[in-house]
């Protein structure tokens, strides 16, 4: 069954909300008929946001990513319902058509515009819904998990703002020993221009659960996108999570994503950063249970004047965990990328096995990639390695392929595609691989 839905009646939100303020927070919450406890939570977060300073350029995390030109006042605080009937953009329809999913949900500037469950998920006890509804239908689960443990509102300035103004996103709950075979697809299409968007992903995989979730992020022209991803990966559960960011090249994009992994949890997180004018993404694997297996894989390809910054943390708190990180990026034109990563091994996390690699392929001498890998190791019986590489497309490779009859552009394309392949090989959804290949193709071309 699939339905076009319109959660909100036109006129629910007063047009007067034009500035970031406590009143804005109250108006947002009221327009959504939220329970009192959520309003309280939002207001507390707003107070924290106001109390926290903006990042300064001498903060280690922000030394290479400056917020010059970024002003909150330049954005409408959040996108408001336009009163038009819900429609699904052609762009979004393509995304829906291409993936065979167990369930799909589309957010259009905060509102749910479409949902379709191919499988009877509720019969299995699986919850796949928008967070706004979940507040009413699953308040105990939301109160337990929403920004309480994985990402707390005061994690950083942006998460505080997010907690005060979150406006879209999915709640995914997979009960014990339950398996969802096909991926669950969440699409955010930020169609409003110049607005703030605060997409949230809350995934709770109970012990022994298995699930794959794809977050697709589009649109956001001249806007501010400030997302949070929270993954609770239970004992022996298997989670595949893909965050595919393809915002407009005018978007200011901030992301804080964390996963808490319990005993023998198996997580693969794929982070794709194609779009935005500037991205600052904080991504953590927090390994709290023994025997955890975590993979954090990223690809990025800034062009023009795009600036893409990933900052990762692999936290090993307990013994016998494995984590593997691989971020590969290509850069063109005057693009800039930053990768900063730390593997943190706590004193009793013996037998830790942790890897971190960042590769950069510089396609133009005007592009620049900074890579700052790091280890903080307090246990003595561990195996940890990190590596950073920056390379150009070597003439020897191009010549070899040309000597087989490939044109120069074909040879260069193949080499760049090949460079991303190490990550693409580990993307578990075929249609996502095809889509990523297409974007790479497009980015190389123009």
């Amino acid at each position: 069954m699939s339905v076009l839905v319109k959660d909100i009646a036109p006129g629910d939100v007063k047009k007067s909300v034009e500035q970031f303020s406590e009143a804005t927070v109250r108006a947002l919450s009221a327009a959504r008929n939220e329970p009192e406890w959520m309003l309280e939570k939002r207001l507390a977060a707003w107070a924290q946001f106001e109390a926290m300073p903006w990042p300064k350029s001498d903060d280690e995390a922000w030394r290479r990513t400056r917020l010059t030109g970024f002003k909150l006042d330049n954005f409408q605080p959040y996108a408001q319902a336009d009163g038009k009937p819900a429609t699904v953009d052609a762009l979004v329809q393509v995304e829906l058509d291409e993936m065979q999913s167990a369930g799909s949900m589309v957010f259009q500037s905060g509102d749910v515009a479409f949902r379709h469950n191919a499988e009877d998920l509720s019969a299995k006890g699986v919850i796949f819904t928008d967070l706004r509804s979940a507040l009413h239908h699953h308040p105990e689960l939301i109160q337990k998990h929403f920004m309480t443990e994985v990402v707390k509102p005061d994690h950083n300035k942006f998460t505080a703002l997010h907690a005060a103004l979150w406006d879209s996103g999915a709640f995914i709950y997979v009960p014990k020993n339950t398996r969802v075979d096909l991926p669950l697809q969440v699409i955010l299409h930020q169609s409003a221009e110049g607005a703030g968007g605060y997409h949230h992903t809350l995934l709770v995989a109970e012990d022994g659960a298995e699930v794959t979730v794809v977050d697709d992020l589009l649109g956001g022209e001249n806007g501010l996108q400030n997302s949070v991803v929270e993954l609770v990966v239970g004992d022996n559960s298997v989670v595949r999570y893909m965050n595919l960011q393809d915002f407009d090249h005018s978007t200011w994009n901030f992301l804080t994503g964390r996963a808490i992994m319990h005993r023998n949890a198996d997580l693969r997180w794929i982070q794709v950063s194609w779009g935005s004018r500037l991205t600052k993404a904080f991504l953590d694997l927090d390994m709290q249970g023994e025997g955890g297996h975590g993979e954090l894989l990223g690809i990025y390809f800034p062009t023009g004047r795009q600036h893409i910054d990933h900052q990762t943390l692999q936290i090993h708190r307990v013994p016998h965990c494995f984590s593997d990180l691989l971020f590969n990026g290509a850069l063109k034109d005057k693009a800039r990328s930053v990768y900063m990563g730390i593997i943190q091994v706590h004193p009793n996390a013996q037998k830790t096995d942790a890897y971190q690699r960042n590769g950069n392929l510089i396609l133009d001498s005007t592009a620049r990639a900074d890579s700052i890998p790091g280890l903080e190791i307090e246990a003595d019986d561990v195996r940890c390695t990190h590596a950073a590489t920056a390379a150009q497309v070597e003439d020897e490779y191009v010549f070899y392929l040309m000597a087989r009859g490939l044109t120069r552009p074909q040879a260069e394309r193949m080499i760049v595609q090949g460079f991303f392949q190490a990550v693409l090989d580990r993307v578990p959804v075929e249609s996502v691989v095809t889509k990523l290949e297409r974007v790479i193709e497009r980015k190389i071309g123009g």
Partner: protein, 270 residues
């Protein structure tokens, strides 16, 4: 019947003249072995024929059937019928042998050209390709014929290949591209006797009357398996002697020390 002619070829790299007047004519159906000490410029000659952009030709010409290759890019030369088997094939991670070869074969056999004539861009990978089924069938057949394990189709080009596997894959590529003239740069070096036999068998299968071979080697060993029509001695950027197979035997007896003594005094334009 085609002719590859190298006429008084001079080439420099980084201000050093490496080729100092090479003359050689290779016809379809001929196998011409080129033997010389390390550093004499054999690979440079191979690269210059194939159109490596690092080398500059300062004098002379390279022609196929009277048409000069000098203004052609490497890929155009390949499409004109030249194939170079590299002494050191580079590894290209993430690019599978099958994927790469399908594009290469499509270009060389004119699929891309046809599409271009229909108004499509030839540079887009994935368009204008030889039909997958047809390509697969042919690749599988040739892998069997040239002793390359079928799993190599999906492996990344030369990535983690042993020396022997690389050289065998070069022969497979040659078989797929069906060149008029093949230049094999030390396809025998670093191979154990079994691998050498496989590579030699491959060359012999491909040595048909419509194809010429320039077999560059440091050692006489491969000539026990592949019988050359001509053997030339290459020394300090030039061919100093040409003859039949007996030249190879003489070289084996006397060694490169003899070449050094015999030809060191030859006038060389520096």
């Amino acid at each position: 019947m085609s002719v590859l002619e190298i006429r008084n070829l001079h080439a420099v790299v980084e201000d050093a003249e490496i080729l100092k007047g090479v003359n050689l004519t290779l016809r379809s159906g001929e196998i011409h072995a080129l033997m010389g000490p390390n550093g004499s410029g054999k690979s440079t000659l191979a690269y210059v024929i194939a159109g490596h952009p690092h080398y500059e030709v300062t004098e002379g010409d390279i022609l196929i059937d009277g048409e000069s290759l000098l203004d052609m890019e490497a890929d155009e030369r390949t499409r004109a019928g030249v194939f170079l088997a590299f002494q050191y094939p580079v590894a290209v991670p993430g690019v599978s042998v099958a994927n790469f070869l399908r594009t290469a074969v499509s270009n060389v056999r004119g699929y891309t050209q046809q599409a271009e004539n229909n108004g499509n861009s030839p540079a887009v990978i994935g368009s204008n390709l030889m039909p997958m089924r047809e390509f697969r069938r042919e690749l599988n057949e040739k892998m069997k014929e040239f002793n390359v394990d079928p799993s190599f189709a999906r492996r990344y080009l030369n990535d983690g290949f042993s020396g022997g596997e690389k050289k065998r894959t070069e022969v497979l590529q040659m078989a797929m591209l069906e060149p008029k003239f093949a230049i094999l740069d030390e396809s025998d070096s670093g191979l154990d006797i079994d691998a050498l036999r496989v590579v030699s068998d491959g060359i012999n299968k491909l040595a048909t009357s419509d194809r010429g071979f320039l077999l560059i080697t440091h050692y006489q060993r491969i000539l026990n398996y592949v019988k050359p029509d001509y053997v030339s001695i290459f020394f300090r950027g030039r061919i100093v002697q040409t003859g039949g197979p007996e030249v190879a035997h003489m070289l084996e007896e006397r060694g490169y020390g003899w070449v050094e003594k015999e030809f060191a005094d030859e006038p060389v334009t520096a």
